[in-house]
């Protein structure tokens, strides 16, 4: 019975990532889409938070949104899996429900 947490805002714009991490049980997964993909950048001050999250959750990022924003795989912290929209759909089927942190 697990949750796919979807975050669509940058960690510097909203507290969605922080609230999600406070409320996500171990075993649930996090998918970064839209502006949420900025969180993957290893040089940002948010990197530590996401790094910690990787200890408890699988973390995915939507590749088309990264590409749109010029966020390269080189700039990413390790351990994040990239998915396209097909992969997004697959995740939505694999997890029992999704929670969009709006």
């Amino acid at each position: 019975m697990s949750v796919l947490h979807i975050i669509n805002k940058s960690p510097f714009d909203r507290n969605s990532l922080d609230s999600c991490l406070r409320l996500a049980l171990e075993g649930s997964a996090i998918l970064l889409i839209e502006d949420g993909v900025y969180a993957v950048q290893k040089k940002s001050t948010a990197a530590a938070r996401l790094q910690q999250a990787l200890g408890k959750h699988l973390v995915y990022a939507l590749q088309p949104d990264m590409q749109a924003r010029g966020v390269t795989t080189d700039s990413m912290i390790d351990g994040i899996e990239l998915v396209d929209y097909d992969g997004f759909v697959k995740l939505a089927t694999e997890f029992d429900k999704s929670q969009s942190w709006l």
């Binding site: 697990s2 949750v3 609230s19 406070r22 409320l23 996500a24 049980l25 429900k97 929670q99 709006l102």
Partner: protein
């Protein structure tokens, strides 16, 4: 009709945007479908439940009193995250006293609002089947 566990998550303050108002409308209309409904108020969403909201000077419709009707619609599982309240310097006394009447307990009036920790709320999320955010 199947019964599913619906969770409505509220993270936005009222009045500065329409999300709080329109999400309450979903809850009220949804009540007719007799599903197992839970509401969660997190982050700025906790502000939606504050007492003494008066929109007369800003000229918009004050929908806050409608929360009091939730008990009549069998919506009485209302969870407020303690951490969100504390960060905002609020406690239970700052919130509207929302209640419901338990017909299985001689119509005793009970609190609909439960202030819970993040950990408890996380467990509540896991039990749900449909999660709506606005």
């Amino acid at each position: 009709m199947a019964t599913k566990k619906f969770l409505y998550i509220n993270r936005k303050a009222p009045h500065g945007s329409i999300y709080a108002h329109e999400s309450l409308e979903v809850v009220l209309i949804g009540a007719a479908f007799e599903q197992d409904v839970t509401l969660a108020f997190i982050d700025d969403g906790v502000y939606q439940l504050m007492k003494d909201q008066d929109t007369s000077a800003i000229g918009s419709k004050n929908f806050a009193p409608t929360f009091r009707a939730l008990g009549d619609y069998d919506v009485n599982q209302i969870y407020v995250e303690r951490e969100s309240l504390e960060m905002r310097g609020l406690d239970k006394d700052d919130l509207m006293p929302l209640t419901w009447e338990d017909e299985d307990d001689d119509w005793a009036e009970k609190d609909s609002i439960h202030i819970v920790s993040s950990a408890e709320l996380a467990e509540i999320f896991e039990q749900q089947e449909v999660i709506l955010n606005f």
